[in-house]
Subunit: 195 residues, 4 copies
DNA sequence: CATGAATGAGTGTTCATTCAT
DNA sequence: GATGAATGAACACTCATTCAT
């Protein structure tokens, strides 16, 4: 009941997953009915259970995808130590761009992971912790003002990312790079140490 | 159907509303059952319909409360013109404190209005627009850097407020004034004009 | 709980009864709600139970009224024996007119008694039996063709009366006398003995 | 939602429809419960909704059946012109027999269509209109007395048919042909032109 | 690999009726 | 004589899930 092998089966499974993602994102968990998922995927209800254990299970699978890909992303953008002071700006810009791009890339998944999932809170908390750790390391290296509570700053970043993603990117307005630049402009003067 | 007069009736209605707010906030709309709302309120199911048209109706009433109180709050915190340059900081600080306090004051309602409601998006959009208008006026008066896109800035504020509220305040950690101060410290240097 | 005496009480009871008759006639038993009856009567629900035992009870009271008044009517129109052959026509005409008038007089009650009541069938059967008895006596007296099955004829009269009442009279079209005349014209040639 | 294809499905649907017809006819719309319909059909409640949209929908389907079959019947019994005067009697007899037979054929449906349905009034009105049109054509051809108001006559036929159907046929007493003959004997002398 | 048919369990809602005042 | 408030009992309907094929 976990992974069906044949080519046609994988195709069906993928269609179901895509339909589920779209509907969960648009309607939320409860307003999304198995009947409408399978309809969109061109299958019947029992087929659904050929590929997934339950409605909860698909939802969890989607949330899981989102969460683990997000984790990888942030992990891989860990600061290499030995950063030059002049590069801090670019570094933060890069991280923001990467996150904006990630959120824009699969909007259904993003919407599910950041809004629809009951775990949305803990996902954001986890993300915040990762970002905070990055920031703390940089702060210790003297790149950032020592008076800042990096816990708070990380939360501000998350909130900002989240809001801008939904206000602009999911509406198809603006683009990741431009938004990231504006955020950097807004935040950095408050973060860099006084000259 | 929403105007029962006697004192006892108003009491019952209030109990139902409070129970509904608590459960909606904690469990969401769908996992909240009328049966458990009335149980918490010490009544039976039919009584619920003495005071509310439907499950949707109570939910909407709560969201409506939140939305309109939020509206009033922001409207009443419009900037009086004739602000001294030195006061800008304090002004923004004040607005942030007010909003933090408002969000903390009735956590159930806040959770419903900002997360559980399908209209959460439009509520935040509305709030963003109001804040943006405030900011724009101040920008025109020269209090803020002219290169800033106040639309984006407003969204950053909303995201930040929202995130901090849920990360700290609803956990009972931190306090509105302290958080507001940190946000001001973080944002202001990026917002005030260069000397 | 049966008969409240005071003037005001009688007034209230009458208003309830009238409202009930109107609504039962128009909407039927099930679509008529106690709440709407009392609303129309300008009272509250508990007041209803001051005057009637139950919803069924009011309905029965109305049906009972109809049934007993109809009974009296037919009973009182029994043929005096010693009728002259030439008067038969006028006699039947008179009975029809009387019944048409009765049905038109209180349309709500008529609609309830002939259509809405579960006993409608037995009411019509009873009426048919009474009419049949009248007809039989006249047949025995030689006023009517001896080949006619007066049981059937009576049913034809009932059906005709009922249909014409609802097609014309309750629409405010036509009048009892004229309709009665037409029925007599249609039926009598088939009923009177061949010359 | 009304087109399930397999043989087993059609069987179930038919059983539900039959059970519904029987219970609606016997108990009326409101006293008939979905639970008892499905019980009689040997199914469970959700299965009902596999075949019908709602309780109202089955009822309407039954009424619709009745109405359209009745329409066809009357339409197909339109008078061929070129009728011989001597055949008028037989013609009317034939129509009456046909209608009596139709009403007797599916007693549940008849009871629903003529009594239980809120549209019963309009169904009878429609039937009356169709019969009146037939009669009018014959009247124009000189087969019937020109003084008769065929609108009224048609209503008399309907009432008579209805009453006799329920008084005799649904009790299993009498038979269509015999009743039709008696009606013809009663009405025709009043309808045929004076010699 | 897929489907037609069926179901268990649950939930919102309605309404006649009553209690206490 | 009347009412505000409350309730018991029921019922239609939904939906995720599962057999049997």
């Amino acid at each position: 009941m976990a992974r069906n092998k044949g080519a046609k089966g994988q195709e069906s499974r993928a269609r179901l997953l895509a339909a589920a993602a779209e509907q969960f994102a648009g309607l939320g968990f409860y307003e999304t009915k198995i009947s409408s998922i399978v309809a969109q995927a061109g299958l019947t209800q029992p087929s659904f259970y050929l590929y997934f254990e339950s409605k909860e299970a698909v939802f969890e699978e989607l949330v899981g995808h989102f969460r683990s890909r997000l984790r990888e992303l942030v992990a891989s953008s860990r600061l290499e130590s030995g950063l030059q002071p002049g590069e801090v700006n670019a570094r933060v810009l890069g991280v923001l761009e990467t996150l904006f791009r990630f959120f824009t890339e699969d909007p259904h998944l993003t919407r599910i992971g950041l809004f629809q999932a009951p775990q949305a809170g803990s996902i954001k908390a986890e993300l915040a912790a990762l970002i905070r750790d990055n920031l703390l390391e940089e702060q210790r290296s003297g790149y950032f003002r020592s008076t800042l509570d990096m816990d708070v700053v990380a939360q501000c970043f998350i909130g900002t990312l989240e809001r801008l993603t939904f206000a602009y990117l999911s509406e198809g307005a603006g683009n990741p790079e431009q938004l990231a630049a504006q955020v950097v402009e807004l935040f950095m003067r408050g973060m860099l140490p006084e000259k």
